[in-house]
Amino acid sequence: MASDMQQPDTRTTPGARLLPALRRLCGLLAAAIGLTALLGWFADFPLLATFGSGKIPMAPSTALFFLLFGLAASFLDRIAATGRLARLLFVAGAAAATLTALLLMVLSARGIHPSAEYLGLPISGMVNGSPIGHMSPLTAFCFVLAGSALLTGLQAGPRHRWPAAAAFCCGGLVSLISFALLLAYLLGAPLLYGSGIIPPALSTSLAFLLLGISLQIVAGPSAWPHDRLASLADTRTPYVFALIFILLGAGIITASFLSFRKHEKEYRLGVEQQLSAIAELKAMRIADWLSGQQRQAEELAANPGFVLRLQRWLEQGTESEREIVLSRLTALLSIHGYEEATLLDSGDRVLFNQGGQTLPEELPHGMLARARADGRVMRCDLHRDSAGKVRLTWVIPITTPPAEGGRLLATVLFASDPEQFLFPFVRSWPTPSRTAETLLVRREGNQALFLNPLRFQEDAALRLRIPLRETTIPAVQAVLGKEGVVEGLDYRGKAVVAALRPVPGSSWFLVARMDMAEIYAPLRERLWLMVVLLLALLLGAGAAVLVLWHRLEHAHRLALFSAAAEKDRLYALELEKRVAERTSQLAAANRELEAFSYSVSHDLKAPLRGIDGYSRLLAEEYHDRLDNEGRGFLDNIRSGVGQMHELIEDLLAYSRMERRALHSDSLDLPSLVRTVLAECRAEITRTGAVVRTAVPAITVHADREGLTMALRNLLENALKFSGNSRPVAIDIGARSENGTTVLWVRDNGIGFDLKFHDRIFEIFSRLERAEDFPGTGVGLALVRKAMQRMGGRVWAESEPGRGAAFFLELPENAITP
């Protein structure tokens, strides 16, 4: 049955109710995010605009745009329905917003950031090198798309597919971009951070996703062909498919997220291990070197020959020993690569100095005294000398052997330039790196002192100090005793990962660190790739799901169609069978009826003949034996018989009219009228009626017998109901118009009240008394029946006492058998 294929009313199906609600919700949420951000700015609570620390916040201009666009997308349908003025205002507003966004995009891409974007708020600062409070060019681009979607979406309608498709595409693009941005945020490596372009904030990306969905729904239903939408609405499979897609998408995203995280962990672990190894290696090596140097220095103090010579020189004044000692010192200077050698006597007077000017006053306070007191070689930690050079000085007190009293003879100071070995070694890094660096720090008071020249700050050595409360800085953490791998900000303020080790045998701490940016650079690349791949996968999955769904829909519809066609065919067959049955039933019924009326006619009339015959014979042959009354009785009997006969005849005619097959004859109206007049000639003459005919030469296609009978009946009625008018005037006319032919019989007889119009055509219905006007009441019923069967109709116009006019209308083509 064809009714199976009719399109259901899409306004009442659940799918159609869901979409506008979703659109409104998404639009309102987007607006809400914008409003929240604005409130955050005005209330000086930037977290509302950021959704997380360390991320760039949504600019006030962006927030305002979201508020406006979100509301517009929510209430687009209301605006469209309100009126022309509202529409015009909306179009103007949306166009203005879109153009502003375009302008901002161009400006921002060129690096120009108008302070109007602050909306009057005091905003300053940067995140990751991008100024906050300004709309990202990518955001501006998305707003241009959103504005276009709104403008074209307003035009969208079932008959305007192109604007709807454009709006859908713009909204879809916004959704896609925002989805990519959100993915990047999710995976921990947001896009565009650290590049020259201001990145879109997390809240911005989220709001764009919602706005994009809302815009797509604005145009979506209009962009889809109507019948697709109908089939979308009346089956549940689209929801199933949407669910499958969402699950698939969620699965893909989760899998890639987990994989990325794992990879990230492994990578990070590798980097940390590398840093730790380097730190360990270096720390050990430095410690080794230090102890090596220490041993070297101690050798001198333990050298008995040297001590003896020195003793001889200093205590006994042997000048020749002086030369030997000094040349020994000079030799040691060059052998061990010391920068300076100084010899101090027991009173701290400089006896000899070569290579520089390390004066005792320059040494850290009490160092000399302590060395002498301990009698051990002490290392004077890295310090700057009077010339500003960094030096590592060994204080070697030379004492007489304990057997001789153990008294201080002299102090040798060897100062080495850390640049000889220490600093280059510290500086070295096994692999080429942009930001990796090793630091030596030591504690001084409540500060951490940087000991070596820094990669990014040349003369920081022994100058840069950082208070120990800045515990985010790895150097500080090292000084405070932390070992291992930490994250923090370095002296430049950049995020770093650092491996911390104390250098054994010294008060130094080694920090081997690398910028997070450098660490994550390869990861970041991988992330870009992953996001692209993910999007492609999702799109592919979506497309596959769509295609599959389309195929299924198609097959489903084909099945439905062929099922319907099959049903139709079966139904048609069934119908034919039934029709054939009914026809034969009808035919049988007809035949029965004919036989019935046939025998009725015959059997009813026979006794009538008897009654009439004998009453007549009685009247004639017993005439003289009857008085007037008797003869009157016989007259009544005969009149009764006559009526009965007429009734039977009329009923038979009525029944025949019902049953008989119609013929479509080509009838010439004038000649038909003449025939009927001829049939009624006797009566016409008897009443003296004047019959005028005005029948044009019209040919009708109708049943001859039927039309003749109808006309005859009307004429007989006209003659019968003539009343007292003299002369009886009857007009017969005809006219052909608009494919119908109208034939009328007008008289000047007694007429009738039009309120009986319908009743007079009923069978056996009479308006006049039987004694006034003879008749069976079947005549007009016969006429109506005949006209009905011919596909025409009959009606009358009349006024009591002013005659009547009866009209017969015939259609262009009569019913053909």
């Binding site: 046939y598 006619s601 015959h602 009339k605 026979a606 006794p607 009538l608 003949r609 008897g610 009439d612 015959g613 004998y614 009453s615 007549r616 014979l617 005969r638 018989v641 006559g642 006969h645 038979l652």
Partner: protein, 143 residues
């Protein structure tokens, strides 16, 4: 010839006694001198065939009702019109049926005339009058 004509009967085939009586009275009014023979049903009607074969005078005209018991009037008509001895006898179908098919069938079978019996006795008298005038006086019967 005229005498022979005067003696040739009129055969009335009618089952209804009332109709028979009225018809006879109608002809009596006409002062019909020809004998009127009556057959009350189809069998009786056909029984005349052998009699005619035997030499009995053929009727001037047969008045045949269609609704007869035993053998239907049309059947009788058919039999008469196919029998050599009787097929040229004029048959006037005198019946109350006005049905087209009866009329058509009767003529097809060879009826010479078809008259519908009026209920009105005056009209019936007129019919009898006409039959007498035409078939018994005017018409030249077959020999």
């Amino acid at each position: 010839m005229t005498e022979e004509l005067l003696n040739r009967p009129v055969l009335l085939v009618e089952d209804n006694p009332v109709d028979v009586d009225l018809t006879l009275r109608a002809f009596a009014r006409r002062k019909l001198t020809n004998p009127v023979l009556v057959a009350r049903d189809g069998e009786e009607a056909l029984a005349w065939l052998p009699r005619w074969e035997a030499g009995q005078p053929l009727p001037l005209v047969i008045l045949l009702d269609l609704k007869l018991p035993r053998i239907d009037g049309l059947e009788v008509l058919a039999r008469w019109k196919s029998h050599p001895i009787s097929k040229s006898i004029p048959v006037v179908v005198l019946t109350s049926s006005k049905e087209d098919r009866d009329v058509t069938e009767a003529y097809r079978l060879g009826a010479n005339s078809y008259i519908v019996k009026p209920v009105d006795f005056s009209k019936f008298l007129e019919v009898a009058n006409q039959i007498d005038l035409y078939w018994c006086i005017l018409n030249q019967p077959p020999g």
